[in-house]
């Protein structure tokens, strides 16, 4: 069994997070651009005098499937690398993966990582 680690982080922390994961031996991950809503609050834009409240803040979602035993370590690495201590640093959550396949080879489980 594997775990899927999903982290929502500040965009400018992506490089640090990637480096930290590489360092602890993670070999692959998938990222996407998302918009976050939370305590951090958004900003106001003004167009020809009309104010327009944007509640969403750009974030990056990092997804990484890891072997069961590595999950803890990966969460810690992301957490350390993504932390600024200011509001909006984001979340990391873990869900269980029942099966994983590497498409190229058909390898399953930890071999697919």
């Amino acid at each position: 069994m594997q775990k899927l680690i999903t982290a929502i982080i500040k965009p400018f922390k992506l490089d640090d997070v990637k480096a930290a994961l590489k360092e602890i031996g993670v070999q692959g991950l998938t990222v996407s651009e998302v918009q976050g809503f939370g305590r951090q609050g958004g900003h106001t834009e003004v167009y020809r005098g009309a104010e327009y409240q944007v509640d969403f803040v750009p974030k990056i979602r990092v997804e990484c499937v890891v072997a069961d035993g590595d999950a803890e370590r990966v969460v810690d690495a992301i957490s350390a690398a993504a932390q600024t201590g200011k509001i909006g640093d984001g979340k990391i959550w873990i869900t269980a993966v029942e099966r994983i396949v590497r498409i190229r080879t058909g390898e399953l489980g930890d071999d697919a990582l």
Partner: protein, 408 residues
């Protein structure tokens, strides 16, 4: 025709034509992405249909001999460009081409008001009708052989009345007839591509030199002065708008800078060849500040003028037309016309300017209303709610503006 004059008018006509894609970008950048192509199309369509109408009948209406000499409606003697043959006809073709560029851009201005909700088929019919029934007559009043406004002493150098008030009031009528966009004013409708808007404004400014200085119809001193005034008014318009919004909203915006420049250029249009010195600054500052305030009116009064054609073109055009009643200065430019109030001419010119403006408001507003009602009753003016939601690009044109994701 002097070749230097010819060279300048040829260039000016090309410059004004180039304003059309400029306007398309200026407006297009302000709409949401799903309506982008429709906005571009409404503009470029004017470049397609108006020249056809112009060659057939439009130019005759403005440039032909006055029907019955009454100065209200133009003539029909140049219909189909008849009788133009041999090299001597060259200057007439040039005059027709230069005048045509104005007839193209004037209806295009209206597109910004009706953005995001008008059936393209309705627009396709509206433009040629409006050019013939509204633009033609109003053009005759000022620039035809013996237009009644000009005959009384009213002034419009390059289109305060004929272009901006004319298009501006038509825009106001159109948004009242069409109704608001779904979700307006509650839903946010931010511009989707402000860089386009900025470049569009740059192209407009560039072209406006042809519009205003080209209206001197030669590479003469009046052209030089009009060029100068155009430059100053665009600049002061930008500064006026940005300073006021900076004080009021806390930020100097790019959209404000672009809008202010356009407002200043609109305002100086009727006056460009009739004032001197630094008067262009006055037109610009006034327009920048006042048009900024005017665009807020729509939220108070409740008409959905999508891209502020009323606030910028109607208000800016009226402002410039009336300010000319103050600042006109025949000696500064060596012309023969009534001086404005500030230059010892009393209120005569002010009154004539007001009269011309009122007549334009009434005529253009009224006829535009009738045209739109007829179209509404036949073709229908508005797209369905669902089409509006999907976006006009897909529903009207079966296209999407951007495809950044490569999936093959």
């Amino acid at each position: 025709m002097d070749k230097g004059d010819a060279a300048w008018v040829l260039v000016s006509a090309a410059l004004v034509l180039f304003m059309v894609p400029g306007l398309a970008l200026f407006y297009g950048g302000m709409v949401r992405a799903k309506h982008m192509l429709n906005m571009l199309m409404m503009n470029v369509y004017c470049l397609g249909v108006v020249p056809v109408v112009w060659a057939i009948v439009g130019y005759s209406l403005v440039g032909g001999s006055n029907t019955g000499g009454n100065g209200f409606v133009g003539g029909f003697d140049l219909v189909g460009m008849s009788g133009l043959t041999g090299p001597d006809a060259g200057p007439t073709y040039l005059a027709a081409a230069f005048a045509l560029t104005f007839a193209v851009i004037t209806p295009a201005l209206i597109s910004g008001a009706v953005a995001d909700r008008m059936k393209f088929a309705a627009w396709a019919v509206f433009v040629p009708l409006w050019v013939v029934l509204v633009y033609g007559p109003v053009g005759t009043w000022l620039w035809g052989g013996d237009g009644w406004v000009t005959a009384r002493g009213g002034l419009d150098f390059a289109g305060g009345l004929v272009v901006h008030i004319n298009a501006g009031v038509a825009a106001l009528v159109a948004v009242l007839v069409l109704g608001k966009r779904k979700g307006w004013p509650g839903d946010p409708m931010p511009p989707h591509n402000l860089p386009f808007t900025v470049v569009g404004a740059g192209i407009l400014w560039f072209g406006w030199f042809g519009f205003n200085a080209g209206s001197a119809l030669g590479a003469n001193e009046v052209a030089m002065i009009a060029f100068w005034n155009t430059f100053l008014a665009g600049a002061a318009g930008m500064i006026g708008w940005v300073v006021v919004e900076w004080l009021k909203d806390g930020h100097p915006t790019t959209l404000g800078a672009a809008s202010g420049a356009v407002a200043g250029l609109v305002c100086v249009t009727p006056a460009a060849g009739f004032v001197g010195g630094t008067a262009g600054l006055a037109f610009g500052f006034a327009a920048g500040a006042i048009c900024y305030l005017a665009v807020g009116l729509k939220y108070k009064i409740g008409y959905d003028d999508s891209l502020d054609v009323v606030g910028v073109h109607l208000v800016g055009g009226l402002l410039g037309t009336m300010m000319l009643g103050l600042f006109a200065d025949a000696s500064a430019v060596g012309g023969e016309f009534h001086d404005g109030l500030l230059f010892g001419g009393g209120t005569t010119l002010l009154v004539e300017q007001g009269l011309g403006a009122l007549a334009t408001l009434a005529y253009s507003g009224g006829v535009t209303f009738v045209i739109l009602k007829v179209i509404d009753a036949t073709i229908g003016l508005r797209v369905s709610e669902e089409d509006e939601l999907r976006g006009l690009d897909l529903s009207q044109h079966a296209e999407t503006a951007y495809n950044f994701a490569d999936i093959n």
